[in-house]
Amino acid sequence: MTGQETVNLQGNHACALGAVAAGCRFYAGYPITPSSEVAERLAKELPKVGGVFLQMEDEIASIAATLGASMGGVKSMTATSGPGFSLKQENIGYGMGAEVPCVIINVMRGGPSTGMPTRPAQGDLMQARWGTHGDHPVIALTPGSVEEIYEQTARAFALSEKLRIPVTVLFDESLGHLVETFALPDVTAYEDTVRKWATGKPEDYSPYKADADGVPPMARPGDGYRVHTTGLTVEESGFPTQKAEVVEPVMQRLLGKIEINNDLVESFEDVDCKDAEVVVVALGVVGRAARKAVRELRAQGVKAGLFRPITLWPFPTKSFRKLTKKAKHFVVAEMNAGQLILEIGSAKVDKQAVSGLNRFDGQPISPFQIVTSVKEVLGHE
């Protein structure tokens, strides 16, 4: 699955193939529009490579089985859309707390509730950050093309394994069903990334004693460590504790482990941000429209730029600030009533103005809308 093979794929199929290429050997899911093609493709592909495909009884069982397989040491994944993502939240939190790697795909559709199942939206950005209860570390990736879906799905596995955390990949219905031709990127490095396994004497091993990178090696069942895994707050031994002086450092380590590894996690696209007066912030499919809009605006002599987070969570705040120092305005274009704009509001520096371009009618945002929005902002100056 490596090399320069040219393919013609739908986003959801690219997601499935990217997962297999990254070494995914277990999938558990439940049918839901518009993500079902991910499952359908994996039902075909996984048995070919000796992997396991399971259609479970519900969304909760799907994430539970995915985590169960990962506890057994296998790279695993589940895919869903908004309503299913809501149902999975408790167990995603379990994975974050007990530090069980896995990948969750959310092909976003219109909401709230059942919403518009066959229409694109970007309504789950904040749910991907704060969906599960309690304080927790998080990684969410937002690819913007079919090729990027393939690559970022594979990367999600690598990050998940390396940092022992469930990683969410968010893209919307239009990208999931978009068909594009591209040369398959080489994801061997992602395939080769596996979690640190416990080695050495079992009596010297502490399940939650982290290395310098903030990540503890994991014990594989059958290797003789016989450890305890729980969703309760634990001390380094892996057994529950409620002692304040023990809980504090344990939580600090858990919440801080992503930042220590920021070089690995951070990713974004920057188009002419450095000298831009107006920076459009957009992700996923809207990033494509924004790229076109920025090109057009530049052609008209407007100093416009684009900042497109690929790693949405944690938001690349430091890089964002550095790149957009000269910007006077931000236009945050997103297919929801205003979620990314909340993050930009706190990431921007004092005198920069922020305005939102929002669409939640089940239609993508067009380049023309973005151009108009930017001009409006400049006109009001």
């Binding site: 396991v52 069982a61 539970a64 995915t66 169960g68 990962s70 506890m71 296998v74 305890h228 969703g231």
Partner: protein, 294 residues
Amino acid sequence: MNEQVALKKETQAENNKDFEIRDYLRLDLFPHFMCPGCGHGIALRALLWAIHEQGIDKDKLAIVSGIGCSGRVGTYIDANTFHTTHGRPLAFATGLKMARPDLHVIVITGDGDCLAIGGNHLIHAARRNLDITCLMLNNEIYGMTGGQVSPTTPHDRFTTTTPAGNMEPVFDASRLAEAAGAGFVGRELTIHLPRLRDLISEGLEYKGFSFIEVMSDCTEVNGRKNDLGSSPEMVLGQTRTMRPSEYDNNVVDHPFRPNSMDMGVFVRSDRPEYGESYRNMVDQLQGLTQKGQK
């Protein structure tokens, strides 16, 4: 074949003799959290005894549990233990067993965990018939949260959420598992320890989904509120409402034991085990692919 069976029985009897529960416990976690008089400890002893009898390697043993009193029981076992979320241990175990068929996967769950919040997973695990042993500790109450009504709380029983007595009908968990397709189903009381051990042992040996319902007792938040007496009194009370499965529901005994529940093995079927079926499909597919490539 008969010789093999005889040999196996002999080995089991031999294993039986040198069973030492401390070999299977995380003793540094003691004292344990269970209330005085709780039946869960006896169920744990029966389980460990059966594990010993079956000669299961602790390194290859995976205990998966959910939330509640039953969920905490597995913590004390010196094995690969997974304390998962409320109601979901069977779903976690399904993933684990499919990914790692070499592990011996046992689920310890309770009546609330398995029949209420996790009811959907129970019926589908039974239907799938994957090689998992599910031990449901039925104490007829939500003990950990302070004694609320559960799907198996008997009629008229007082609990913190049924101050006027329970008006809802109960689930017969074993019959539910049977109807859903579990390959092996049985029920036993904690007072019959050797019989409980044998039942679990047979369940562990069975290739497929085995559902074992252990009638436990909760003296603290169930018995006390209903004047069911001390733990021995409660357990003896259980024996009065139970009958061996050989007894017909309609025989003379019945009028003297109204609403009695039966005990013993209810189902031993030769339904295909799902993991094996899946792996056969994978092997066939890979064989076909290789043929096609030639």
